[in-house]
């Protein structure tokens, strides 16, 4: 089976003053479509960096990334923007809705650049996804008239509106209380199961990990373990001991 995301020997360094920070250190990973994948690890381990690279909003220092088996390393900024506009949905920890737009307009926003989608189709999609996240009644509310959970639902609808192959969520529940966080996760899971959208999210919360069916544990910029949830909801964990193993071991399909 082909992967929706493939990361091949990726390194990412940041220059912090004089110092080089190794944010990702030789990451190799393949993600099959339709998974509900959690990336977990302590603060500073490289979760966000990994999501940014998968989301094509950042470029690796070396190595290659493939989205739907297409190498994105050679693409120009505009090509990447177009790729994101079609294939990738983003959900942010801080929701990041545009404050001057209503819920419906926020959902519509990423569609506006898509000339292949007519105005009526656009409206239909907005209605549909607002309905899916249960916010039809709040279509005309501005973000500041919505609760945190509602805002994140709008963000989910916005991410889904382009019908992306992958939705990336960097700690989507970190700014929400526990109960709301669980609700949001359940909603994401439901969408994952019914629409088949691949979800990749980062977290350091065990309760959040419990909802995932795939797990990547990172530490100090390297993958320490892969996990696949078994039929009885048990985790089969494959630990990575040294760098050469990473290439050999992938998440079993």
């Amino acid at each position: 089976m082909s992967s929706v995301v493939r990361i091949e020997r990726v390194f990412k360094e940041y220059l912090l003053g004089e110092q080089i920070v190794q944010a990702l250190n030789d990451i190799t990973l393949a993600i099959e479509p339709g998974v509900f994948l959690a990336i977990s690890g302590p603060s500073g381990s490289g979760k966000t960096t990994m999501l940014n690279l998968i989301g094509c909003i950042d470029r690796p220092t070396s190595g290659n990334i493939y989205i739907n088996e297409e190498n994105v390393s050679q693409k120009s900024a505009n090509e990447l923007a177009d790729l994101r506009a079609r294939s990738i949905g983003f959900i942010f920890q801080t929701f990041n809705l545009l404050p001057v737009l209503t819920a419906a307009e926020n959902v519509e926003y990423p569609l506006l650049r898509r000339k292949d989608i007519s105005a009526t189709d656009r409206k239909r999609r907005v209605d549909y996804f607002l309905d899916i996240v249960g916010l039809s009644k709040y279509a005309n509310n501005r973000p500041n008239q919505l609760s945190g959970g509602q805002r994140q639902r709008v963000a989910i609808a916005r991410a889904l509106a382009v019908k992306p192959a992958i939705v990336l969520a960097d700690e989507p529940t970190a700014n929400l209380d526990k109960a709301t966080g669980i609700e949001i996760l359940k909603l994401m899971k439901l969408i994952n199961e019914h629409l088949g959208t691949t979800f990749i999210f980062s977290t350091h919360d065990q309760k959040v990990i419990d909802h995932a069916n795939r797990l990547v544990k990172v530490e100090d910029g390297t993958i320490k373990a892969f996990g696949v949830r078994g039929p009885k909801r048990n985790w089969n964990i494959a630990r990575v001991r040294n760098l050469s193993d990473i290439a050999a071991e992938n998440i079993p399909g």
């Binding site: 900024a77 994101r84 949905g89 942010f92 990041n96 001057v100 737009l101 650049r113």
Partner: protein, 407 residues
Amino acid sequence: MLSTSFRLALRNLARNRNRTLVAMLTVGGGVVAFLLAGGFINWVFADMREATIRSQLGHIQIVRPGYFEKGIADPYSFLLPGQSKEEEALRNTTEIATITPRLAFSGLASFGDITVGFSGEGIDPLRERPISTRITIKDGQDLQSLEETSAILGEGLARTLGVKPGDSIVLLGTTANGSANAIEVTVAGTFFTIYKEYDDTALRLPIPLARKLMRVDGATSWVALLERTESTQSTIESIRPKLPAEVFQIIPWTELADFYNKVVVLFSKQVDVVKIIIGLIIILTISNTQTMSVLERTTEIGTSLAIGLRGSDVLRLFLLEGALIGIVGGLLGIGLGYVLGEIISAIGIPMPPPPGMARGYTGQILISTSLVVDALILSLSTTLLASIMPAWKASRMNIVDALRCNQ
């Protein structure tokens, strides 16, 4: 997409009301200043133009070819006929409000012990009257008919001679064959125009008297007044076929209004300087506003770029916001400038006598369509210019850094 961008831009502007208001008021204030400064200069141009036309030049002068180059000293070789079918035809041209012959000559005027040189013009008092509305009679009265043996003198000339209305003076001239001739005329009145230099030497008398003094028939020029100054060029085109170029030269007032032309060049430069200063103030203020707006919206910009907008979309949004500030501020300024202009014009701006003029005047503000267009172009181009750098920076933002900045 367009209407949504527009809506988005408007709402972003509405979001920080105070800042947007200050930005628009800056643009509006600049436009008001530009309109008032430009409008005043405009009025000066228009007033001076009409005063020049309606005291000396008329709109169009028809002379013998070369008259203005060589004929002033030797008018006898450049005389137009007294009666002609060409003049008749011109008189019946609809664009021409009035056409009248003038016989220009120079001579000496004597009163008592004093003799001074003058520039004389023989005119037809009645037909000349519409062209002389900016010749103001100071003492006495204007010339009334072709028959009278009187003259009106520029106030400077009258002062030098020491004459007042009712006095008799002797005019000495040279006839066509070179001999001297003299006539006695009564001073009917004294006059002034806006040009002191002209008033220091000018003397006007009925054309038959001038002909008698010079022993000639005819005129040195036919002077035409039009309904509208703007139609000068088109009228010249339409009368040209009626006047063969070998015998008639048609000269628009613009070629004769030397002083006016110099004033226009000088003052236009000054208006340009004012415009540049205002433009710079607007650019500095608005680029500051736009930079703050970009900084404040860093996360939004990062988000927009992340979810698939291109840099050019972001660029366009900020340029649009800049343009809206320019248009709204500009219209505001135009409205306010117009009202202020009307009020100031009603009150009047007292001005001292400019160089070369004997009297001060009361200025007004004349806001023309082209000035309004200029003001709009000024406000729009400066706000756009001011927005280019901030907008470009926004469009080139590093997405990851932009997204990190609110964490």
